[in-house]
């Protein structure tokens, strides 16, 4: 069995959840999101963020707009859509349930 793939999928799922969560606290451009994810060591290489953002955008969870910047070219700011907020709520519930479920399994099987 390919455990590397399992790990990659796990991390990817959590990352998607965290991106939505970061954006629920305010609109942000990719590098802001990146810095937050790096602070919490959720992301190893920067490149992994961009396909996730694009896919969430295409799935209607995010929208973006261009904003002028004082340090260079305009920046692409991402924001949560209504659909994104709904999905985030569902993910939060799932996350809590998962933690409880996994911990109860681990406790029962020391």
């Amino acid at each position: 069995m390919d455990f590397d793939n399992v790990k990659a999928q796990m991390r990817k799922g959590v990352l998607e959840f965290c991106i939505l969560s970061i954006l629920s606290k305010g609109d942000a451009y990719a590098t802001d999101i990146l810095n937050k994810l790096k602070e919490s060591e959720l992301i190893v290489v920067e490149g992994t963020l961009y396909p996730l953002l694009t896919r969430q955008k295409n799935a209607g969870l995010l929208s973006y707009r261009w904003e002028e910047s004082t340090q260079g070219p305009p920046r692409k700011y991402y924001a949560l859509t209504e659909r994104g907020k709904e999905v985030l709520k569902e993910l939060e519930t799932t996350w809590r349930e998962l933690i409880d479920a996994v911990e109860s399994v681990i406790d029962k099987n020391p």
Partner: protein, 203 residues
Amino acid sequence: MKKTFTINLGNRVFSIDEDAYERLQEYLERIEGYFSDQKEREDIINDIEIRISELFSERLSAGKQVITILDVEEIITVMGDPGVIAGDKEDKSRSYSHHERGSSQRRLFRDPENRIIGGVCGGLGAYLNIDPLIIRILVAILSLTFGVGLLIYLILWIVVPEARTTAQKLEMRGDSVNASNIGKFVRDEFESVKKSFRGNKRK
């Protein structure tokens, strides 16, 4: 003296060395290769280019105005392997030491610096780690017998790509592609050019 290009990356303008440009282009093309949907691919590449342009800008100053191959290699390390970006591989750099990841396999290329006709034997020599002369003799003998060697040579010439970039030349020799190796390779190249230049002048 080195040739540089001027590029527009993420709406910023950069001067970039020729070898660095080739490496960057190859990297972006490899990322593109992982995404089949055209719209999605454009968005992702666009975002990645913007990020790379930010990282480039952070590296430039009044005393440093050109993007070199070392900058590109370091940024590729920050951005990650195309397979990891596409999400079908777990990044191993966290759990494994660097040399394990870097001990790259040899890849078969034609060697443009060790060629008589198409560089096939030179490349095969590097791939198999034997003297290209032995391969050339073998090909010559096989060519005398029914032209088999000639046919094989022609096929390999068509099929095997030429090692153009520094990274490809390192891969051809089985050296891992990392910043220090590339630096060493470029210095060696520079020395050999300098030597041949002096040699020519004496004539």
